[in-house]
């Protein structure tokens, strides 16, 4: 066991000079007494719609959208369904994950019509007591011309120390379409290294949203490779961190072919001593004419001790492109604040309203209406302080908290 901890530490040290990984430091979340997760016998039933990875092991749900198959990675491996993809590791953490993962989701969307629009719900949770080190790995295939929506949550608000390395590979066939929303709500003693590797064929569309609501250390490492013309991706991120929490979002979009578009919008609010890194990298290859790419990263720092390191980066090898990037870091807009307060709204309320307004741009990118409402509520609760009652809150969630004990869970079952 401690051999894995040692290997992770060694990778971290070795990658300190690698631009892509140099800010990554989860050493506080690796301890010598870490245990591998054991299969859990669940006392309570898994919600019927949420396919779950609990302590690194798959627990199926009864419901799945039509035209979608889902089995465990273990089963897929036994059936010989996993091809070359699982060995295509792109970095040492990915490599280590490929060697040590316990299980994961193997998803295949082959239906052409998801007329009901019902998403597939995936959930990852650690329930084991004591320090746990988990490796999980999933594969999502969306076949040619097919559509899939995934709502995924990473949960575990307990105080146990944990380190989770999760890799998901996405393969989008020609003209396939994927909407993928991941919500992360983890305890402050937990680190998550989440890698999303997306491969898109001609005409494929990706809509992605990553919402980091809590977590000791969260690295979202996202790579999008466009292998065909006319691909279109929109990646949005929102991170709301406080205390000593840290996020590190890395987004790499590789425009290999002509006439593809990509758009990134990442926003974050940091309170207390929280720290965030945003590293966006768009590469436009020599032949990728007609590329349209944009990156935007905006941050609000609520204290002097909160920090952000924003690094937008464009690497362009041809002239026929439209690329833009921008990053801002600051406090709340003083004139907007004055406008609200001039109507009699107190400073505290005005702040809450403006912080929510800041997040709204990202929330509005969610294409599933119910999830959009739910995300909006979760963000409101997060901004209001997750355990405070709603009575004096101005935001008017559609699902009010239940008094002071209101549990701040993602709970996609209410969607």
């Amino acid at each position: 066991m401690n051999e894995l901890v040692r290997q992770l530490s060694a990778i971290r040290v070795a990658q300190r000079k690698n631009e892509v990984w140099r800010h990554v430091d989860f050493s506080d979340y690796l301890t010598d007494d870490m245990q591998l997760p054991q299969p859990t016998v669940l006392a309570d039933a898994v919600p019927s719609e949420q396919h779950s990875l609990i302590d690194g092991h798959y627990h199926p749900a009864t419901h799945r959208p039509s035209g979608v198959d889902i089995i465990s990675m273990g089963e897929a491996r036994a059936k010989g369904l996993i091809g070359t993809e699982a060995s295509s590791a792109t970095n040492p953490y990915d490599q280590l994950n490929a060697e040590h993962y316990t299980d994961g989701f193997f998803v295949r969307a082959h239906g052409t019509s998801l007329s009901d629009g019902a998403p597939l719900y995936l959930r990852t949770e650690g329930r084991q007591r004591g320090a746990t080190l988990t490796h999980t790995r999933s594969i999502v295939r969306v076949e040619e011309g097919c559509q899939l929506s995934i709502v995924r949550s990473d949960e575990g608000m307990d105080e146990n120390t944990g380190f989770a390395s999760d890799v998901t590979e996405f393969y989008l066939g020609r003209n396939a379409s994927l909407a993928y929303y991941e919500m992360q709500n983890l305890g402050s003693r937990k680190a998550l290294l989440s890698q999303l590797h997306v491969h898109m064929e001609e005409g494929a569309t990706l809509q992605m949203g990553i919402f980091t609501l809590n977590g000791g250390y969260v690295r979202n490492h996202c790579e999008v490779h466009m292998h065909g013309e006319h691909c279109n991706c929109h990646i949005a991120g929102l991170y709301l961190m406080d205390r000593k929490q840290q996020t590190d979002d890395y987004v790499f979009v590789d425009h290999q072919c002509p006439n593809c578009t990509s758009r990134e919008v990442f926003k974050g609010i940091m309170d207390d001593m929280a720290h965030a890194v945003f590293h966006g990298h768009v590469r436009v290859d020599e032949g990728a004419v007609g590329t349209n790419a944009s990156q935007s990263n905006k941050n609000i720092l609520l204290t002097d001790k909160a920090g952000v390191h924003a690094q937008p980066f464009l690497e362009i090898y041809n002239d026929d492109v439209m690329c833009s990037h921008g990053t801002t870091t600051g406090q709340l807009d003083e004139q907007a604040m004055f406008y609200l307060r001039s109507r009699g709204i107190s400073e505290r309320t005005a702040r809450t309203l403006l912080l929510y307004a800041f997040c709204d741009e990202v929330i509005q990118t969610v294409s599933l209406p119910k999830l959009r409402t739910r995300m909006s509520d979760l963000v409101k609760k997060r901004l209001h302080g997750e355990l405070t009652p709603c009575a004096d809150c101005v935001l008017h969630c559609s699902t009010p908290c239940n008094g002071p004990d209101a549990n701040f869970r993602i709970d996609t079952s209410v969607l």
């Binding site: 406008y339 009699g344 309320t349 935001l395």
Partner: protein, 257 residues
Amino acid sequence: MALLSIRNLHASIGDKEILRGVNLDVNRGEVHSIMGPNGNGKSTLAGIIAGNPKYTVTQGEIIYKDKNILDMPVDVRAAEGIFLGFQYPVEIPGVSITNFMKAAVDEQRKYRGLDPLSSAEFLRLMEEKKKVVEMTTNLVGRSVNEGFSGGEKKKNEIFQMAMLEPTLAILDETDSGLDIDALRIVAGGVNRLRSDSNATIVITHYQRLLDYIVPDFVHILYEGKIVKTGPKELALDLEERGYEWIKEELAAGGSVR
């Protein structure tokens, strides 16, 4: 005692002095118009009464309802009945007008020791007040000023004024950017809200607005001071003769007052 009494007010933005000793008294039931060339401190004066932190008051006092309000927080001034209609209303995507106004109405009620309105009562109030500015758009679900035309923004300011029922309303160039129909509607709204217990200060460039909102007094703010005060006919004089004669009179020495 006047509702509002400004004494020897000096103010600056950064190192630049803008107001150089403004004196002004406004009583309940009165409408005052402040006119003057661009860049002479009209908007600054409006902003300072409302409490815009952008400006620094270096000298003088503002007495409102017998209290010096210079140290009073912006939201408390509002709850005490001061309302500023913005020249450039701020767009706030993501904050719905309903949430914004509900928060404002409830916090002002709380300040006065009243219970918050129920949702039904509040929505009824909104529908009623929309009529003041002939607003037909459905406001529910729309963000504050986002995507509003110039006219809609100004109507929205007067709608907010109707919701909050201020004692002292300061309208900062509410007429700018309005076509003649919108101007009539906005002015009509302001007139409907006039009463013997409240007062209005209208800041404008053009006499045109004053055809609709008829002032009791017209003041000319020039180089940071009120240099001339007269009846409503003064606005007509300005319309005809421009500001040059004021400047000449001042240059000739002495106060124009």
